[in-house]
Symmetry: C2
Subunit: 352 residues, 2 copies
C-alpha cells in the first residue's frame, strides 16, 4: 500500500478539509505541451500512444514535471472499450475518431460482448500500473472511462456528430435496442474501471460529454440510469483506502440534483453553472469539481489569475472543491497560462 | 386595428386560458418544405429571399397553408442588423454566414451606429407589413431579432464558430470594448423590434442561440443584461392591444429564474429542461414556450405523436404554455411528421 505524499485530491473528493484547493486539468497531458507532441510524433499516431504503456506513462507524467498539479490522470481515450469490442477504431489526422464497424441494428448489438480488461484492454491496465509505479506516491492517479451513453453515441454514429441523429432515431423509435446496447456498455465500463482501480487508480471519473444533446427525461433514462449502475458496481476501496468516484457531465446543469444522487462522491460541472449555486444545490451530498472556462487559458497570465481567483471565490471557503476546467484544455493554450492558473488556485485558496 | 381570428398564441403568452395549447415551430418556413425550396431557387439565394418583401411574405405563409399553426413568424435572419451596420453579410452555398468586415478593435467598434429600421432595414419592416396584410388577421405574426450578444458573436468572429474564442478573448481581456459593442447592439435591436411592432408584429421574440457557451456570470453580465435592456425598451401595446415578448435561450436551463425576471412575457426553453420543472421554477411569472427535440421530427408519425403527447403532459393542464420545438426544424424533416405534431398538440391539449 502506497501512502500518498499529496492526498489533497482524495480528501477534497471525500469532502474532508484540505490546506488548499487541489487542482488538476482535463487533458492536462495534451497537445498544448511541446513535449507531448514530441512523444506523440515518436509513437506515430494517437492510438499507438494510448496502446503503448511506456509512452502513455511518459505523457501522463509530463504536466506534473512542469506544474505542481495535485493529480495525474491516465493518458488514454474513452473509445478504447468499443475498440476492444471489435468496432475498429481509427483517428484520421486532423479529424475525429472513426469506427470501421458502427453498431446500428439488432444483429450488431446482439453480437456485442463485455471485453476482458485483462485481455484486449490489457494495455490500459498495464499503463495504470506503470504510471502508478512511476508516480511513487507523489500524487493520486485518476482512472477514467466514457459513460455508457457517450460510448453508445460514437458506436452508433460511427464517429462524432453534430446532433447524433442516428442515436436519437434509435432512442425514439427503438428504445429497447438502445437499452440492450447500454446494458453491455455499463457492464463493460464497470469492469474496466474496476480493473483500473485494482491496478492502481486512486480515484475514477466517468465522462458524459454530450450534455445538452438529450431531452430531459431521455438523459435520465438513457444516460444517468446507466452511469448509476456503473457507480454502484465500482470497488469502493483498495487496500483499505477509499477510491472516490467523479461523474462529469458537460452541460449537466439541469440535472445536478439527479447526478449528485447517483452514488458518486463528486460531480464535475462546466462553466455555465455557478459553483456557489452548485454547492447550494448539492454540496451537502457530494464534492464539486470545476469549472473554469478553458478559453480563459487563451488569454494572458493576469487575466488567468483574475478568473481563477473568481472561480475559487465562487465556491467559497469550504471543504469539497476540486479545481478544474469545465472541459479539456485546448491545444492553443500557452503553458505559462497553466502555470499561472495552478499557482493562483493554490495561493488564493490556502487556509492560513 | 385587426382583431385576430385565432388569438390563442397571444393569450397563452399572457398566461390567459385558451381552448387548446397553441403551437408554432421555429424555422417553420424552411428547407424541409419543397415549396420553400422552389421560392428560394427563384430568389437566387437566401439573402435575396430575406430582402424581397413579396418573397419573404410568400415563404412566411407557406407552412400555414399546410398546417393549422397558431402563428406566423417573419421570414428573415438575425444577421440583418449587422449587415445594415455595414459589415457585409454573405452566405456561401452549404456554409454558414460570413461577414466581410468583422469588428474586432476599438476603431471598428467606435464606428458602429444603430441602423435606421426605416432606412437600411426598410425591407424587413415592409415584409412585416405585407405579411400582416396577407394574413388578414387569421393568426398573429411574430417578429424577431437576435440578442445583442448573439449578434456580437457573429460580428466579432466574422461568422459562426465552434467555440467563439475571439469573442471570449475580448470578453475576458477587453470587457469594456465588448460592453461598448453590446450597447450599440441593444439599441439597434430595440429600435428594430419596435419598428416591426409598429408595422404589424403581434408578438416579438429575442433569440440567444449560444447558451452553454458563456460562463455563468458572463452570461448575466454580457448577454442577459442587454436582452433586459431591449425588453425594457419595447413597445408594450399597439392600438390598445398588448404585444407580448418572448426570450428564447438555447441551453438557458441554468439561468431560467434570471431570464424570467428580465421583463419578458414568455421564456423559450430547449429540450434539456423539463417543462414541469420550468413551470414550477418560473411559471407563476412568465409563460413557457417549448420544447420538443427537433430530431423527434426525423422519426415517424406514431413516434411524433407519442413524444408530442409527453411534452404536452409534461407541462400539464394550465394556462401559459406555447408548444414549440426546442430549436429550429431540421431540413431533413418529413412534412407529414409536422402535420402529425400539430394535430396531436391540438387534440391532446383541448379542454373538453
Amino acid at each position: 500500500m502506497t501512502t500518498l505524499e499529496n492526498d489533497t485530491l482524495i480528501r477534497a473528493l471525500l469532502r474532508q478539509p484540505t490546506p488548499y484547493t487541489p487542482v488538476w486539468l482535463m487533458r492536462q497531458a495534451g497537445r498544448y505541451l511541446p513535449e507531448y507532441n514530441a512523444t506523440r510524433a515518436r509513437a506515430g499516431d494517437f492510438l499507438s500512444l494510448c496502446k503503448t504503456p511506456a509512452l502513455a506513462t511518459e505523457v501522463t507524467l509530463q504536466p506534473l514535471a512542469r506544474f505542481p498539479l495535485d493529480a495525474a490522470i491516465l493518458f488514454s481515450d474513452i473509445l478504447t472499450i468499443p475498440d476492444a469490442m471489435g468496432l475498429g477504431l481509427s483517428f484520421a489526422e486532423g479529424e475525429g475518431p472513426r469506427f470501421a464497424r458502427p453498431v446500428r441494428d439488432e444483429r450488431a448489438i446482439g453480437r456485442l460482448a463485455v471485453p476482458d480488461p485483462h485481455g484486449e484492454l490489457r494495455y490500459v491496465v498495464d499503463a495504470v500500473a506503470e504510471i502508478r509505479r512511476a508516480l511513487r506516491g507523489r500524487v493520486p492517479l485518476i482512472g477514467f472511462a466514457g459513460s455508457p451513453f457517450t460510448l453508445a453515441c460514437y458506436m452508433i454514429e460511427g464517429g462524432s456528430s453534430d446532433d447524433f441523429r442516428t442515436v436519437k432515431q434509435m432512442l425514439y423509435q427503438r428504445p429497447e435496442l438502445l437499452h440492450r446496447l447500454l446494458d453491455v456498455n455499463a457492464r463493460a465500463v464497470a469492469a474496466y474501471l474496476n480493473a483500473q482501480i485494482e491496478a492502481g487508480a486512486d480515484a475514477v471519473m466517468v465522462f458524459y460529454t454530450w450534455g445538452g444533446t438529450l431531452a430531459h427525461a431521455a438523459y435520465l433514462e438513457f444516460s444517468l440510469a446507466y452511469t448509476t449502475r456503473v457507480v454502484a458496481a465500482l470497488l469502493r476501496e483498495r487496500d483499505g483506502e477509499r477510491v472516490p468516484s467523479i461523474v462529469f457531465t458537460k452541460g449537466g446543469g439541469p440535472w445536478l440534483e439527479a447526478i449528485a444522487a447517483c452514488g458518486c462522491d463528486a460531480v464535475g460541472v462546466d462553466w455555465t453553472v455557478s459553483l456557489a449555486d452548485a454547492r447550494q444545490r448539492v454540496g451537502a451530498r457530494v464534492a464539486i469539481q470545476g469549472n473554469l472556462d478553458p478559453l480563459v487559458l487563451l488569454t494572458d497570465p493576469d487575466t488567468v489569475r483574475h478568473e481563477a481567483e473568481r472561480t475559487v471565490a465562487d465556491f467559497g471557503r469550504a471543504a469539497g472543491h476540486v479545481f478544474n476546467l469545465g472541459h479539456g484544455i485546448v491545444p492553443a493554450t500557452p503553458p505559462d497560462n497553466v502555470a499561472a492558473l495552478v499557482e493562483t488556485v493554490h495561493r488564493v485558496s490556502r487556509v492560513n
